[in-house]
């Protein structure tokens, strides 16, 4: 049976671009954390995100999507990320970072389970193996 030639999917380019940008975020956070505490950094991150959001709004010529569901999920994503970070910082006050960071790094596992149940996403065996390796790597790199 003939198969189509394998192409590099567009979504993967964007995912790798995200790894790059968030990797830079980790790098600059590392520099900032020398003298700023986590809460101060969180405020600065938010202020730094504003020009990007404004740039997106200008690109869209002010035509922001107002679909109620989409807007709610978007806002909740921001709120949950920020609140999760506050929980993480609170955990750091009680436990060593070498314990807290690897544990909280396992959050993608919950997303995978939720996507399986809610979105009915199914992974192939190679991808499941990839998740195991990725989680192991996240834990190791955050120690």
């Amino acid at each position: 049976m003939q198969t189509e030639p394998r192409r590099f999917p567009v979504w993967l380019w964007y995912a790798l671009l995200c790894v790059f940008w968030w990797g830079l975020w980790g790098f600059f956070s590392k520099i900032g954390s020398v003298s700023a505490n986590p809460l101060q950094l969180q405020i600065l991150f938010t202020l730094g995100m504003l020009p990007v959001a404004f740039g997106m709004l200008v690109q869209m010529r002010g035509r922001l999507d107002h679909n109620p569901g989409g807007a709610a999920f978007g806002m909740l994503s921001g709120l949950f990320t920020g609140l999760g970070a506050l929980g993480y910082f609170a955990a750091l006050r009680q436990q060593d970072a070498s314990v807290v960071t690897p544990v909280t790094g396992l959050f993608p596992l919950l997303t995978v389970v939720l996507a399986f149940i809610v979105l009915r996403e199914r992974l192939n065996k190679v991808q499941m193996g990839g998740i195991v390796l990725a989680l192991a790597s996240i834990v190791i790199l955050s120690i």
Binding site: W25, S35, L44, G69, M75, G78, F80, T81, A91, V112
Partner: protein, 148 residues
């Protein structure tokens, strides 16, 4: 560890919300709504701390970090918008510490430990496996029905 569990719960659910959001609105709109979500928290954080006394270098690093975080948000939303599964894109992009380690090695002259080298190898292998999609077989051409 209740606080760590709280973080896992919120970040894990957030991955689902990102996909549900990009199913409904554009990646760029998602960036704006997510930023609004972040902004809502600022007054509460401002009560607990202040930016007074921070060096210009720390403030610049924090602001740049926020900017590139926003661009990363746009990229993950674009990836989900272009059809990435949440169960693939979220674990894949959670490998960003790999990039941070590489940058810290290159610019901050940090040297990865042997354990970190293992983490880097696992991240590369895991990332490659996560992005694996089996080749799609073309649909069989419809054959004319022959009346016999």
């Amino acid at each position: 560890m209740a606080n760590a569990g709280f973080a896992i719960l919120l970040w894990g659910v957030c991955g689902l919300f990102m996909k549900l959001g990009t199913n409904r609105i554009s990646a760029r709109s998602m960036v704006i709504w997510v930023t609004i979500g972040f902004v809502i928290l600022v007054p509460f954080m401002w009560r607990m701390t202040t930016l007074a006394g921070l060096s210009a270098g720390a403030i610049s690093a924090g602001l740049i970090a926020g900017g590139v975080n926003g661009l990363g948000n746009w990229a993950i939303f674009a990836s989900l918008e272009k059809g990435a599964k949440a169960s693939v894109a979220i674990p894949l992009t959670a490998l960003y510490p790999l990039c941070t380690v590489i940058l810290a090695t290159a610019f901050l002259r940090e040297r990865p430990s042997s354990l970190q080298w293992l983490g880097i190898a696992l991240a590369l292998a895991g990332g490659a496996m996560l992005s694996y999609e089996p080749p799609v077989a073309p649909a069989l051409e419809e054959r004319p029905q022959c009346a016999q």
